[in-house]
Symmetry: C2
Subunit: 343 residues, 2 copies
């Protein structure tokens, strides 16, 4: 029995495209003592993958050439040689772009108990709103942003898998929520689905400074949920309020960090406005994932949290799904379905 | 009876020099109901004054042209029309570069009870180690830096009025303490008087990157107490450790912020190293001044805290004292004596 896998064949300059990956026929892994054999149901395509396939310094080791592409996945336990896991359970973790994975418990993030079967929430949600993206939005917003009623928050990539959740959570905390996004369609989504008070398409007008000034409409920004860096960040910074917080959660606008790009110097802003800026990586907080997933699942069931998924069918679509992310061709969290639950 | 005052006559480009000020003969103020009349004993010269005389946006309003120069001072109450203050008490606050000031209580920071008279600590210490500088060092270090035993801290302007106190406090917290300073004499002071483990004169070698790498000697930096910004900051940043904290306490290396200078873009560093950077202004924390002054005074009496003062005699020396700060011609906190206590 074979195990289809997607491997990284070349390191991209700039963002990863389909051509940097290839389909490979691996052998079906055996489940050794202490391991769990997983049949992947959905694998993921995430903006962070650009960093994972780069050999620049990052928070995880680069994916090796000719290695299976690193991915969070959700799958079904089909054989267990570990006492904590049983056949038929749903689990999410580092299972890679492949059909099957034999893993040790340290590669498993958590058991997924709120999705699939008789639950109202689909299995794929465990990768997005109840996984990497929703948990990032929740923890980064609350730990660093610490939103208070009446404050103004600005979120870049506002309609994305993280931004759309952060926006709704900030709104529930009583904030005025402003969004920056990359198309008129996404602006409409922000306003109709994700509870933003105002949003702009940063491409609509050549003058980013003016667009953001209009977006702020006289409000200074207490929390900046920055997922882009680059010229969007530079245009937002002058609008920061006294005691503002900058959540650094992504840098999607920067293609390469070597050589290091230049930016306006910010030390004086830190002092005059007593700003706080902090970087966030959700993998530092694995112990909090189950509890946060439970909070977010409850909000979904109460219809207080909207999320969108962009679903692809078949493992061979994973590289295209990833490329589409950087082209802005996705709406919502990109997931790639490989198998169906309990089949 | 006259009241000698130093007024700001022109706004400097770059740092303030003696020529931007003039001696003026004011009239002796009268003490109205609710006011306190103070005879200044010492006034201060501080690096922050560059910001106060600039009309660029800052945390305080710019000093007006032909107005008395803003300064923290320590003085004796010689008449009180307010129930909380009595003749003969020592107080510190915003009393300006002048002999006498009639002030309301909101201009008074605190009563000085640990200095002068039969105390072992001189009155002037209330402006430096027990005032602006020592309290800045203590609060910025502990609130933002949160030093832990075994960590490495790097302090720029290491022998200065703030840096020298921060260095000693960090050493007492169990840190490895590294200093950057501007002369060989100050390096020697750091090592002999202020408890630094290592220090460099950043002017000694044209290659700041190499000097700082040697200073770190294989240790990454957990806390960067940044008082300079500019090329020193840029050379320190690559040495930051995972979960590092950057205390932004000054920007003495930058002469002008308009137009805004450029710097290496740092958003990626924030994420990969989970850095936290925060600006600090000690005037946000006036309610903590009395308690911190008490802690620091106890350390001085126990001979666990060294401080240096650069003492000038006569109000007319204040502008020169200030100019000397920016030329690096001071050793320790610059204070200008105007009167003696109880005379």
């Amino acid at each position: 029995m074979s195990n289809q896998q997607i491997i990284l064949v070349r390191r991209p300059k700039g963002y990863p495209r389909a051509e940097h990956f290839a389909l490979s026929e691996g052998t079906m892994p055996t489940c050794k003592n202490g391991e769990v054999l997983i049949k992947n149901l959905f694998v993921s395509a995430d903006p962070a993958m650009r960093g994972w396939v780069s050999d620049e310094k990052n928070y995880l080791k680069p994916v090796g050439i000719n290695s299976v592409m690193r991915s969070i996945a959700v799958g079904e336990v089909i054989e267990s040689q570990h006492p904590d896991y049983s056949e038929g359970e749903l689990v999410t973790g580092w299972f890679g772009w492949q059909q099957y994975a034999a893993v040790t418990p340290d590669q498993i993030f958590r058991k997924v108990t709120e999705c699939g079967g008789s639950n109202l929430i689909p299995v794929s949600a465990s990768l997005g709103v109840l996984g990497l993206n929703g948990i990032t939005a929740y923890l980064a917003l609350n730990q660093i942003g610490q939103p208070k009623a009446g404050e103004t928050i600005l979120i870049s990539t506002a309609a994305g898998a993280v931004g759309s959740i952060a926006g709704q959570l900030a709104k529930q905390a009583g904030c005025r929520v402003l969004g920056i996004t990359g198309s008129d369609e996404k602006v409409a989504q922000c306003l109709s689905d994700f509870g933003y008070d105002a949003a702009i398409n940063y491409k609509q007008d050549g003058n980013l400074e003016r667009s953001i000034t209009e977006l702020c409409n006289g409000n200074s920004i207490d929390i900046f949920f920055d997922q882009t860096s680059g010229s969007i960040s530079d245009a937002v910074w002058p609008h920061m309020n006294l005691n503002g917080r900058i959540i650094q959660c992504g840098t999607s606008a920067i293609d390469s960090w070597s050589p290091k790009p230049q930016a306006p110097r910010r030390e004086r802003d830190f002092i005059t406005k007593r700003l706080l800026q902090q970087g966030f990586v959700v993998f530092d907080h694995m112990e909090k994932w189950p509890a946060v997933a439970e909070v977010l699942a409850a909000l979904i069931r109460q219809k207080q949290l909207q999320y969108k998924e962009h679903k692809y069918q078949g493992l061979n679509k994973a590289p295209t799904a990833l490329e589409n992310l950087y082209l802005g061709n996705n709406t919502g969290k990109s997931v790639i379905q490989i198998n169906h639950f309990n089949n």
